[in-house]
């Protein structure tokens, strides 16, 4: 067997390991940072892979396969396990037949998540063993062990990664041409194990507790829980990526590296603790290990030194080390100047030529400003660097969500949020005009419309929440009209039961489904409404309008996402009706399927600099001086002419029309008129509003 050496992300390594372990069925719902696991698995032969409608379904599919006797896996982001919690707990009770591994990819630091919950608690909560790799090699090795462990102990295994493990690439050595052994599918009837009525479930609980005892004993001898001997003064307990940071910072310390972090190897921890003078736990987020170790009666420090909020880094661990007197005090960032030794080091490592200095222009500039010797380090977050303009993510040029979000903003806030009561004639900050819409939103690309310049959304909590929350506001007696906005994938994920609730409980909510025919936010995965499966093959397509009508919504509309007037008029019509409505706003995501068309341009002599078009939030629109121009390399044209539709002076036309000096398209003042009706101010271009906090 040939061994290959490759740079793989944790997710890729995990997929390769699962393939080598003979996984037969893998089901997932996309979610950063877990998505690439299933994407990679879909590339291997002999594995059934699916994008499920949501994580609960995904885990149930995997559980079914596992009870059918084959190895199965389900992967999801941390919040996905909330959705899948019910079958997760259930699987712990029934146990398995073929190995079952549940991968939870957590996101400390919230690189692209709505919270940073610590899913290690799920292992204790559901009474299942948990493994945590600290690089890609371990991700590969451990996932293979996870399947074996699952079968040996008749339990699902929680495999927990974090963003830095899932997305960082590190070196993996693995067999190159291994032909995996895939088990035979065979279901063996065993109702007292697989049918959880109380009478059968009671003995299963006892079996679960016995299983935990056996697992705790196994954890003591598990080869990946290991001591790395070092100076006895300091003993570090760590797992996951935190182990890497800690190794870097406390290079001389003794280490207990934990890989099976639940159940904890209590004796091993005790032995380690008694061999060192001071025990410090370095872990991200909650004091999960720390609390358990303290419960063993061992004096231990952790969260008193390292933050409970956000992700760790070498810097943060170093700071904690200093706080705890484990490291010498920091060299002051002020006046540190250039360090000669680091040049020396770089030369030794062979990285840098010895004689590369400033070029002539730079010398000139340097003599004007003597090279900043002795100034403070410019870090993001301090001084001049902090004042640089931010670059938050934005909707793409030609995004099908722009026009609808623009229309919602116009129908929503009277004006951009006043910063103080005074500024708005005594009104409360954020107060709305009585006829303004409230927009409960959901999670997807369209959530970016909460930012400048669209400022169109009022809530976003978790996937599928928009519809139920809109109904709740209505039932609470809110006088404003409430509109729910939800993406197509999100609607299918968890929106459907809430829409049924609206019908059943006689709500009159208007639900806008933004149908871009893909799961765009996480990288354009297939979903049922798109009719493309995880391997990119065509499959049965679920028709959203039929689905809504089938539920009992009578007022169903399908509108063109790029027709601002139609979108706006339909929303106004629906909210006025005394019945629930669904508006499917349909338009392709340009990143995904559309070929770019001819770009638009602004006829400069007609532009009076009112900036109305900038409100659309298209990054191709650029203000130059007092006027707006369109970057022809960014504008996608084609279906999209949204900026042209909102320009009150009709100054935006196809680029070729400007060159040919042809007059622009016919009048498009309909929207402006409808805005006057609802009291909007078409010129309230809000470059004056406070910048929303950077958040994804």
């Amino acid at each position: 067997m040939r061994i290959m050496k490759k740079l793989l992300s944790g997710n890729e390594a995990l997929a390769l390991g699962a393939y080598h372990a003979g996984v037969r069925v893998a089901a997932a719902y996309p979610g950063t940072p877990s998505t690439e696991i299933l994407e990679a698995l879909a590339g291997y032969p002999g594995i059934y892979t699916e994008w499920s409608t949501n994580e609960k379904v995904a885990l149930e599919v995997a559980l079914g396969a596992a009870l059918g006797g084959v190895r199965a896996m389900s992967s999801m982001k941390h919040v996905g396990l909330n959705v899948a919690a019910d079958p997760f707990f259930g699987a712990s009770v029934t146990g398995i037949q073929g190995g079952l591994v549940v991968v939870s990819a957590d996101d400390p630091g919230m690189h692209s998540s709505q919270n940073e919950q610590d899913n290690r608690h799920y292992a204790r909560f559901a009474k299942v063993p948990m493994l945590e790799p600290s690089d890609s090699q371990e991700a590969y090795d451990l996932i293979i062990l996870a399947f074996a462990l699952s079968e040996e102990f008749d339990t699902p295994v929680l495999f927990r990664t974090t963003t830095r493990i899932s997305h960082c690439k590190t070196v993996v050595e693995a067999p190159d041409n291994l032909a995996p052994k895939v088990g035979e599918a065979r279901f063996v009837r065993n109702p007292s194990k697989y049918v959880m009525v109380p009478g059968y479930a009671r003995p299963r609980h006892r079996a679960m507790e016995e299983r935990m005892e056996r697992l705790a004993a196994y954890s003591e001898v598990f080869q990946y829980n290991r001591v790395i001997p070092g100076e006895p003064k300091l003993g570090i307990v760590a797992s996951g990526v935190a182990f890497q940071y800690a190794r870097e910072v406390f290079s001389d310390a003794s280490f207990l590296k934990l890989t099976m972090t639940y159940p904890l190897p209590a004796e091993l921890v005790r032995r380690f603790a008694s061999s060192v003078e001071r025990v410090i736990v370095v872990e991200e987020l909650d004091p999960f290990l720390e609390d358990s170790i303290r419960a063993l009666g061992i004096p231990v420090e952790g969260k008193s030194l390292f933050p409970i909020v956000g992700e760790l880094s070498t810097e943060v661990v170093e700071e904690g080390g200093r706080k705890g007197g484990l490291l010498p005090p920091a060299p002051t960032p002020w006046g540190r100047g250039w360090r000669q030794d680091s040049v020396q080091v770089a030369v030794e490592v062979g990285c840098l030529p010895t004689e590369v200095g400033a070029t002539a222009t730079q010398r000139r500039l340097q003599s004007a400003d003597p090279a900043g010797q002795g100034k403070c380090d410019a870090q993001p977050g301090d001084g001049a660097a902090a004042s640089l303009p931010l670059r938050p993510p934005v909707l793409c040029p030609g995004c099908p969500h722009s026009a609808c979000s623009f229309a919602l903003r116009r129908l929503g806030f009277y004006r951009s949020m006043p910063t103080s009561g005074q500024a708005d004639g005594g009104k409360l900050p954020g107060s709305m005009r009585p006829s303004g819409l409230i927009v409960t939103s959901d999670i997807g690309c369209y959530t970016l419309a909460v930012y400048q310049p669209l400022l169109a959304l009022d809530t976003c909590v978790c996937m599928g929440a928009s519809i139920g929350m809109a109904l709740g506001m209505e039932k609470a007696g809110i006088q404003n009209t409430v509109v729910a906005v939800i993406g197509d994938s999100t609607f299918l994920h968890t929106g459907i039961p809430a829409l049924v609730d609206v019908v059943y409980n006689q709500g009159r909510t208007t639900v806008i489904i933004l149908d871009n025919e893909t799961t765009a936010m996480t990288g354009h995965q297939g979903h049922p409404g798109m009719g493309v499966n995880a391997r990119g093959q065509k499959t049965t397509k679920v028709c959203l309008e039929d689905l809504c009508r089938g539920i009992g919504i009578k007022d169903v509309h399908v509108v063109d996402a790029f027709d601002m007037e139609q979108v706006s008029a339909t929303i106004q019509g629906c909210v006025a009706r005394d019945e629930p409505s669904v508006i499917i706003v349909r338009g392709d995501c340009p990143l995904h399927v559309r070929a770019p068309g001819e770009p638009f341009a602004v006829r400069q002599e007609d532009c009076d600099g009112c900036n109305t078009c900038l409100r659309v939030g298209c990054p191709a629109l650029v203000r130059v001086g007092n006027k707006v121009t369109i970057d022809p390399t960014m504008c996608v044209g084609g279906n999209c002419d949204v900026c042209a539709q909102v320009c009150p002076r009709e100054a935006i036309v196809l680029g070729s029309q400007i060159e040919a000096r042809v007059q622009g398209p016919g009048s498009r003042v309909g929207l402006m008129e409808s805005e006057e009706l609802v009291g909007g101010c078409p010129r309230d271009v809000g470059v004056d509003v406070p910048r929303p906090e950077e958040k994804e």
Partner: protein, 206 residues
């Protein structure tokens, strides 16, 4: 004593920053280094800032470059380079593509793009070794602005001399689709020449 070379690549979604860092990492692996790399993924596709970190050396623990420890900052865009200047170590090497991509707050007129003087000033607080590269012009000359990352890597390849040219070429060949390879190899070569030219007067001066 430090045993790693830390490279930070920063740019804007769509500039090919992540691919460039992959090519560097693969080349370093082929040269026998331990390599770890980390990309800020997530929403970078939507025109946000992109940061890729590559660490190579005999044995690497953390996959992340520590603030103030980056040996090299490869900036694909000036504002992003300025933003990350503080991550350079003292006397580190800054290689900056001389291109400005205004973020929304600038293109909508509510904020100003930092002037070159400020960008340089921020870099000069950490290092005197700042190179501006006409990356877009080089890529254009090679045939497509999409080859910007290859041109930047070409420039880098001259200054990071622990990786042989052969390893670079192999890594480029593996990463790029065949139909784009030739253009990119031309851009890479042009980047190399630009680096040699930038380096010459200095060598003569000492």
């Amino acid at each position: 004593m430090r045993t790693a070379v830390d490279v930070l690549m920063v740019g804007v979604g769509g500039q090919g920053t992540v691919m460039a860092s992959d090519i560097l990492a693969e080349a370093a692996l082929a040269e026998g280094f331990d390599v770890k790399k980390s990309d800020a993924l997530g929403m970078s596709q939507r025109g946000g800032s992109v940061v890729s970190q590559v660490r190579l050396g005999t044995k690497i623990f953390s996959p992340m470059v520590k603030k103030g420890e980056a040996d090299i900052l490869l900036g694909f865009e000036k504002l992003e380079a300025a933003r990350w200047a503080g991550h350079l170590r003292s006397h580190g090497l800054a290689i900056i593509n001389d291109q400005a991509i205004p973020p929304f707050s600038v293109s909508s007129g509510s904020e100003k793009y930092p002037p070159d003087e400020l960008v340089l000033d921020l870099l000069h607080r950490k290092t005197e070794r700042v190179f501006f590269v006409q990356g877009m012009a080089l890529a254009q000359e090679a045939g497509t602005t999409k080859a910007l990352n290859a041109a930047m890597l070409g420039f880098l390849s001259v200054l990071i001399d622990v990786i042989n040219k052969g390893a670079w070429l192999e890594s480029l060949t593996r990463a790029l689709p065949a139909r784009l390879l030739d253009l990119n190899l031309v851009a890479f070569e042009m980047g190399r020449q630009a680096a040699e030219a930038a380096r010459k007067p200095l060598e003569r001066g000492t």
